[in-house]
Symmetry: C2
Subunit: 211 residues, 2 copies
DNA sequence: AAGCAGTTTAAACAAGCGTTTAAAATAACG
DNA sequence: CGTTATTTTAAACGCTTGTTTAAACTGCTT
C-alpha cells in the first residue's frame, strides 16, 4: 500500500470520528504509520487532504448516482419513494469499494457541513453539480405542484435529516440494537429514513400565511 | 453590563458562528472587551463556559416547552402538526429574552450535536430530561399506531432535520432571500419545517421487509 | 558504479491554544 | 480612613497545531 493511500485511509476514519478540525496531522500520520511531513509532501496542505478524501468517494459515487436518478426521470410519473430509493444502491455500493464505505462517507458529509464553515459545501456544489441538478429534476417530476421555494427548503431539510442521521448512525444503531434487541445495520437505517424524507418532501403545500 | 454577561454574550454569538472548538477564548474576550483570564476566573474553564451559555437558554426555554407539550397532551386526539407547533411560541419567545435568541440557540444546539463528540447531548439529556419525555408522550398520543422502534428512528430523524437546518439557517436564509427575492426570517424557516417533520413522523408504517 | 529523481526522515519553525500566576486596581465594609 | 475581599490585568506557562527545511535514503537509468 502506497504512503498516499495509507494517509487517505487513516485520515478518512479519523475525520469521520472526530471531524476535520478535531483531527490533527500528527494523529493521521501516526495511525497511518508514515512520517508527519508526508501529508504536506503528497497533498500540499491539510485542506487539500480533506478534498482528496472526499473526492475519492465522490468520484466513485457521483456517476452511479447521476445515472440512477436519470433512470428515474425517464419514468412516466415516478413516486418520491422511487426517487429517494435511487440513492440506496449507489450508496451501498460504497461498501464494496471500501470497508465501512457508506458509513464513513455519510459521516464525512455530515462533518463537512458543520465543520469548516461550509467550505465543503462549496466544494461539493461546484465540483459535483450534476448530482444535485439531477436530484432536483427527479423530485420535480415526482411532485410538480411543489413550488420552487418549498422545494428549496424541503431538499435542505432532507439533506439535514440524512446527513445528521448518518453522521451519528453508529451511536444510533447501538442504542436501537440494545433497546429493541435485534441486529441492525446501516442499510436498515437507510431503509428507515426513506419513508420519512419521502413523506416530508411530499407533504401537502401549506396554505400560505402572509408574513 | 457585568463582565460575566459580556463574556456570555460574546461567547454565544461566536460559538453559534464558528462552533465550540472553532472559537478561541482570545476571540471571545476580545469581542467582549474583557481580559483573557476573566473566562477562567468567572467560569473556571472553557467547557464550563459552554455549559453556562447553553443553560442560560435552556432555563428559559425548558419550562415553557414542557407546559406547551403538556397542554397538547390534554387534548382528546392531537394532530402531529399541533404537537410540533407547540415548539413555535416557546422558541420565538427567546427572541424577546435576547436579540437573535431563536437563531443563536438553535445554531448552538446544532453545534453541540456535532462538535465535542456528544458531550452536549449528554448535558441536555441528563439536565433537561423533562422536555424529551413530554415530547415522546405527545407524539405517542398523536400517532398511537407508531411502533416504538419506528418512533425511535423518526424522532431522531426529526432531531436531525431541525438541528441541522437551524445550525446553517443563516446561510440558508441568505440563499433563499436572493433566490426568491423576498424577506425571510428564522420564524419563516420554523413555519416551513413543521409540515415537513410532521409528515415525516406521520408517514404510514412500512410493510416490514424481513432482513 | 555514478548520477539522479522521487521519497522519506528528524528536527525545527512560528503561531495559536487553554490555563495559571502574582501583582495591580477596584469595591465593600467596619 | 484603613483593611479586607473581590475583580482585573499583563505576562508567562507548557502544549499542540500546520508547515518548512535540509539531509538521508530509495530505486532506477545510463
Amino acid at each position: 500500500m502506497s504512503t498516499k493511500n495509507k494517509i487517505l485511509d487513516a485520515a478518512e476514519s479519523l475525520f469521520a470520528d472526530k471531524g476535520f478540525n478535531g483531527t490533527s496531522l500528527r494523529e493521521i500520520t501516526s495511525q497511518a504509520e508514515v512520517n508527519l511531513a508526508a501529508v504536506n509532501y503528497h497533498f500540499g496542505s491539510k485542506k487539500e487532504l480533506i478534498k482528496a478524501v472526499m473526492s475519492r468517494y465522490m468520484n466513485e459515487l457521483s456517476p452511479r448516482l447521476e445515472s440512477a436518478l436519470t433512470q428515474i426521470c425517464e419514468k412516466e410519473s415516478p413516486s418520491l419513494i422511487e426517487v429517494f430509493s435511487a440513492f440506496i444502491d449507489p450508496l451501498l455500493s460504497l461498501n464494496e469499494f471500501k470497508v465501512n464505505g457508506t458509513s464513513n462517507f455519510l459521516q464525512l458529509l455530515g462533518r463537512g457541513y458543520t465543520d469548516s464553515q461550509g467550505f465543503l459545501r462549496w466544494f461539493l456544489t461546484t465540483q459535483y453539480p450534476g448530482v444535485i441538478d439531477n436530484f432536483i429534476i427527479a423530485v420535480q417530476k415526482a411532485y410538480p405542484e411543489l413550488s420552487a421555494e418549498e422545494m428549496f427548503w424541503r431538499l435542505h431539510f432532507t439533506m439535514g435529516t440524512v446527513v445528521f442521521t448518518m453522521s451519528s448512525s453508529d451511536a444510533l444503531i447501538d442504542i436501537a440494537m440494545s433497546d429493541f434487541e435485534r441486529e441492525l445495520q446501516i442499510s436498515d437505517v437507510i431503509r428507515n429514513v426513506i419513508p420519512y424524507v419521502a413523506a416530508g418532501v411530499g407533504a401537502p403545500m401549506p396554505v400560505a400565511p402572509k408574513s
